[in-house]
């Protein structure tokens, strides 16, 4: 198991956002998490790479336990690429520098090596010709593909996606999902928060329905999507589909 989470609890003040979530993910697996707004999906992803500190339970990523040890947190972050809903590219850096700088700074790669890797990744997401552009000059879909390339530049073993297409205009969703599908088929371990049902059907091995900080339902996409067991999941899917 590359990710093992048991009984994860996260509170903001008196509000319990994650209420005992347990989940194990195998290397190479693609898991799609869905659920209503405020159910704790983003918080869950952010706990996995240590952006939020859990209040209870245990998170082990690739054999490293997330705890108060800062070095562990850093190691786990290096293993997990995170892609945000709002892309969060660095606006003061060119596309190429967005991908190179983190490699040089956090991976201690030399400039030539990081640039070669960055160019290969840009090629992979189909944006090599934009390498000298700045983020503000790109469309949302292009920015998100750069963000994926930037995360891949760190050679993560796991990629976490937090609603990567929900800030995009409909005509740009496909290009981002295509990159993600390719990644899934190459064997990347992926945890994806998304309501893109087509994507889930095509590449996910498992879907998780999160509601009020709890895993309410879990199963293969065709089971969950066609025959949801819980009433909450059925209701929610009725709205989304």
């Amino acid at each position: 198991m590359i990710i093992e989470i048991s009984n994860l609890v996260k509170r903001f003040g008196r509000h319990t956002v994650l209420d005992g979530v347990s989940l194990s993910i195998e290397a190479g697996e693609v898991v799609v998490i869905f659920g209503p707004s405020g159910s704790g999906k983003s918080t869950f992803l952010r706990c996995i790479n240590g952006l939020e500190r859990a209040d209870g339970g245990k998170i082990v990523v690739d054999g490293i336990e997330l705890n108060h040890n800062k070095e562990h947190v850093r190691q786990v972050r290096a293993e997990c690429g995170l892609v945000f809903q709002q892309f969060n590219l660095f606006p003061h850096l060119s596309v190429l520098e967005n991908i190179c700088l983190p490699q040089r700074v956090a991976r201690k790669r030399n400039p030539e090596e990081s640039e070669a890797i960055a160019k290969r990744l840009l090629e992979r997401v189909g944006l090599l010709e934009k390498k000298d552009a700045f983020p503000a000059q790109l469309s949302g879909g292009q920015q998100q593909r750069v963000a994926i390339a930037r995360a891949l530049g760190m050679n993560p073993k796991i990629m976490l996606f937090d609603e990567p297409t929900s800030a995009l205009d409909p005509e740009m969703i496909g290009e981002v999902l295509d990159v993600m599908k390719k990644l899934a088929k190459e064997g990347m371990t992926m945890v994806v928060v998304s309501h893109e049902i087509g994507f889930a059907r095509e590449v996910a091995q498992r879907m998780i329905f999160l509601d009020e900080g709890k895993v309410v339902e879990e199963g293969r996409p065709e089971e969950i999507l066609n025959h949801p067991k819980s009433k909450r999941a059925a209701e929610f899917l009725g709205k989304v589909l």
Partner: protein
């Protein structure tokens, strides 16, 4: 009538010219004072500005106290304090004491400018940097500060111009800069109106020159993407 007037005018121009010749050689001193004290203010100000947003309570509190105290005491009093207080113990010249007092005084204003600049960078930038495995120090140096820099140039420019004008305060501790030299000239020749007119114009020339310089710096430090971002 015309001859009489032009005679008066010629006299006046001669006086103004003499004042100008007397003051011009002193202008570099004012410029030097400004550059050195503002350089010191930037160094200390950036440092204190970063300390203001520290998660460490002692660092945060002490930097806040630093800013509050320095902003709450008139610069003139700070100059007296440093020259007559510290200066007597450490044998500081009026120039060194002046640079030190103005630099420290202005560092408090700059610290607040820097803090505001840093805090206006969206949270997502911090999260992206951290999620890519950067340490907090790396994140500040490579992601947050370079973006803040562009935002703080315009307010810093205002401080810079104010700093230049405030160097006139060190005339009270015997530093022979522009204002002091003006007073010397006046007490020798008793032409008050003309003297202070020229002194004022010289300050104006310098501040206007600085404003032009600031426009140039702003272009030079233009950071891509800022201003185009929604929020």
């Amino acid at each position: 009538m015309l001859i009489l007037e032009s005679g008066w005018l010629a006299d006046q121009l001669k006086i103004l010219w003499q004042i100008l010749l007397y003051l011009l050689p002193v202008m570099p001193v004012t410029i030097e004072l400004t550059l050195l004290s503002f350089g010191l203010a930037i160094l200390v100000g950036v440092f204190v500005g970063i300390a203001r947003i520290s998660h460490h309570p002692i660092i945060e509190k002490s930097s806040k106290a630093y800013v509050d105290i320095l902003r709450g005491v008139p610069l003139l009093v700070q100059i007296f304090f440093i020259y007559f207080g510290l200066g007597k113990v450490l044998h500081l010249s009026s120039f060194v004491a002046g640079v030190f007092a103005i630099g420290i005084g202005y560092s408090a204003y700059l610290a607040e400018t820097v803090r505001a600049g840093i805090q206006s960078i969206p949270k997502g930038q911090y999260e992206a940097a951290l999620s890519l495995g950067m340490s907090r120090a790396q994140m500040m140096r490579h992601i947050i500060l370079p973006q803040s820099l562009r935002l703080v140039v315009p307010p810093m420019a205002n401080d810079f111009i104010a700093c230049l004008k405030d160097t006139s305060l060190v005339s009270v501790i015997g530093m022979r800069e522009l204002t002091r030299a003006g007073r010397e000239f006046y007490s020798q020749f008793f032409v008050d109106f003309q003297t202070w007119l020229v002194v004022g114009l010289l300050y104006l020339v310098m501040t206007l020159g600085l404003s032009r310089l600031v426009v140039w710096v702003e272009k030079k430090f233009k950071v891509h993407g800022l201003g185009e971002r929604g929020g």
